[in-house]
């Protein structure tokens, strides 16, 4: 890849590295480019990356969803993809890259009223491609617009006298008195820190983007993670305890989600290249708010890592490419690929995460003095949801085995009574069906669980929990 033989590798001092006649306008990793060569090089680089990805894809013709937040990287990606596609149509290029392209966006105005959704819509409209959105709160209405089961985490703590953490949950029927927006804001209010909130936001957005792709019949999701973002994610996800699934989260392509391939074509571009590309091609982008926008650098792990990488990269401009090249060599372990998906984030859940946690972390400073019942007061923000199975303790599901290490930490710091979206209940079922563990008690428990879920999902036809309270 780096050693492409090209005519005239030798540089003309003080001139553009490509055309060697124009005065340079930008330096990218110590190489000088003039404006025209920079733009052309960026387009060629993107198309080369695209054809490399397509060659490895199972089908040559695919429909793609561009995951579009409105930020700089995804705006640049949208322009590159759309231009590539239309130039192919005009016959400049032999075949169009995709059979169809849909722009998919997650509307975050429920959590961020200041989110520039109109501006984002306008930017997407310029591409001329179909623009589809789901709102964050739609995470609570997925099954054909109907609301199905939610999971309430009743207890996430060390039980007195127990060696391991316990994560007990129960299925609840969503209350018609509570709108999806209220469920969503309550969910984020229950989380313990800005880092956890950003983590959950990532999880929900990623899920909704895949949902959009499936609804539109796309086989490929294009994510706009830049090289700088990959480097940041590498450090941030490792510190959040997501090392097990990290290779999947930063890979140029991932097929973890079976029917959907996730591609990251922007990883060959640094944030600086993207900013210059957008500036020089007139590509607009929006400022997408997060929980820590305008906050101090230590507001969250994401903010801190971003600042850390930006500072390093300023002094050592090879920081980002070095991290990215190293990450490219990272392969998910077979064990990870065979692992069940985490109930919450959907990434592989390592089997012994629970044991890891109890060995490595201090879970409760009160050393078991806090009894489980004292902790499990319901979060006061929501009216009592009707519990699926009658409210005795036997209806509690022990979910620790199906929650990954990082999400266990997230639950651990959340307030008891946190209500998780529908997809969690769905995954419980999936895990249950695919698991062939021989452990007897676990087997019996899962069997009970399956019965509960089945009963509940069938029950849903009675129309008592329609989507009328939503949106």
């Amino acid at each position: 890849m780096s050693g492409t033989p090209s005519r005239g590798r030798e540089r003309v001092p003080g001139m553009c590295i490509k055309c060697k006649v124009a005065k340079p306008s930008v330096t990218i990793r110590q190489s000088l480019y003039c404006k025209e060569c920079f733009i052309r090089t960026s387009i060629v680089k993107f198309r080369t990356g695209q054809s490399r990805l397509r060659k490895r894809a199972s089908r040559s013709q695919t429909k793609a969803l561009v995951a579009f937040s409105g930020g700089g990287a995804s705006s640049a990606m949208l322009k590159l993809v759309a231009d590539h596609q239309s130039s192919a149509r005009k016959g400049v290029d032999a075949t169009p890259a995709y059979t169809g392209i849909v722009v998919g966006h997650v509307d975050e105005s429920c959590l961020f009223p200041e989110a520039p959704e109109e501006e984002i819509r306008a930017i997407a409209a310029e591409s001329g491609l179909l623009y589809r959105t789901l709102a964050l709160e739609d995470i609570f209405t997925l099954a054909d617009g109907r609301r199905t089961a939610l999971i309430e985490i009743v207890q996430a703590s060390i039980a007195p006298g127990a060696e391991k953490d316990q994560f007990c949950a129960r299925l609840v029927r969503p209350s018609n008195k509570v709108s999806n927006k209220e469920y969503l804001t309550a969910l984020f209010a229950s989380l313990g820190s800005a880092t956890d909130r950003e983590d959950m936001l990532d999880i929900i957005k990623a899920f909704l983007v895949r949902q959009l792709a499936r609804e539109e019949g796309c086989e490929v999701v294009l994510m706009g993670d830049s090289g700088t973002r990959i480097a940041t994610k590498t450090v941030a996800l490792t510190s959040r305890g997501r090392g097990f699934s990290l290779p999947l989260e930063v890979a140029a392509e991932s097929r973890w989600f079976g029917d959907l391939s996730v591609w990251r074509p922007m990883r060959d571009f640094s944030a600086k290249e993207i900013a210059f590309f957008n500036h020089w091609t007139g590509q607009k982008s929006a400022a997408v708010p997060t929980f820590t926008t305008g906050g101090p650098r230590r507001a969250s792990i994401d903010r801190l890592t971003e600042a850390f990488i930006a500072e390093l990269d300023q002094g050592f401009s090879s920081t980002v490419p070095t991290v990215c090249r190293t990450m490219q060599k990272l392969e998910p372990r077979d064990e990870a690929l065979a692992a069940p998906p985490c109930l919450i984030c959907g990434m592989p859940a390592e089997g012994n995460a629970q044991a890891w946690r109890s060995r490595l972390t201090i879970s409760s400073s009160g050393a078991g003095g806090v009894s489980a019942s004292a902790r499990s007061s319901p979060s006061a923000t929501l009216p009592e949801s009707s519990c699926l199975a009658s409210g005795d303790t036997s209806s509690l599901l022990e979910i620790a085995r199906t929650v990954c290490y990082a999400c266990q930490s997230l639950l651990h710091h959340a307030s008891p009574g946190i209500v998780l979206p529908e997809f969690c209940a769905k995954r419980l079922q999936a895990v249950d069906a695919s698991d062939n563990s021989t452990h007897e008690t676990a087997e019996a428990q899962r069997e009970a669980l399956r019965r509960q879920i089945d009963e509940f999902l069938l029950d849903d036809d009675d129309g008592t929990c329609d989507s009328s309270a939503g949106c």
Binding site: P24, S25, V26, T27, L32, K35, G71, G72, T228, A271, K272, I274, A275, F276, H279, W280, K284, S285, A287, V288, T290, T292, T293, G294, G295, P296, R297, A299, D302, R303, E306, A307, A310, E311, D313, Q314
Partner: protein
């Protein structure tokens, strides 16, 4: 950080937000653009929307403390008078925060100056200077 420029903060000014500048040695007309979300840090009443780009037109002294005005002087001026309330999101110490790109007349400022000190760049009349954040939390 008392490292600001030699600007008299005289209260009497048509625009009460800005200090009175000393134009005895002449003035420079600059266009300063804020992108990538940086515009949110700037006092909105000082910004103009020009085809979607958030710009400030600034009349800046040609000389500051007997030396030609540099971009460092401009950065202090912006930090002290244009940034709303969180100067640390624009500058770290005397320098522009890492992750914020500076483009001078469509050129990466890292290569504008031959001597590699981008902060020493001497401002010229009609300069167009863009500050673009590449940071998420900007």
């Amino acid at each position: 950080m008392a490292s600001s420029t030699s600007i008299e903060t005289a209260p009497k000014s048509t625009d009460t937000l800005l200090p009175k500048l000393d134009f005895s040695a002449g003035s420079l007309d600059l266009v300063v653009e804020f992108g990538g979300g940086l515009d949110a840090l700037i006092k909105q009443e000082l910004l103009k929307n020009v085809n979607g780009a958030k710009q400030a037109q600034i009349k800046f002294p040609k000389q500051i403390d007997q030396h030609p005005a540099t971009i460092q002087d401009l950065i202090f001026h912006l930090r002290d008078f244009y940034v709303k309330d969180k100067p640390e999101l624009f500058c770290v110490g005397d320098k522009v925060r890492p992750g914020i790109l500076v483009i001078i007349n469509e050129m990466d400022w890292e290569i504008v100056e031959d001597n590699a000190d981008e902060y020493a760049y001497k401002l010229q009349d009609k300069d167009h200077i863009a500050f673009i954040s590449t940071l998420h939390g900007g």
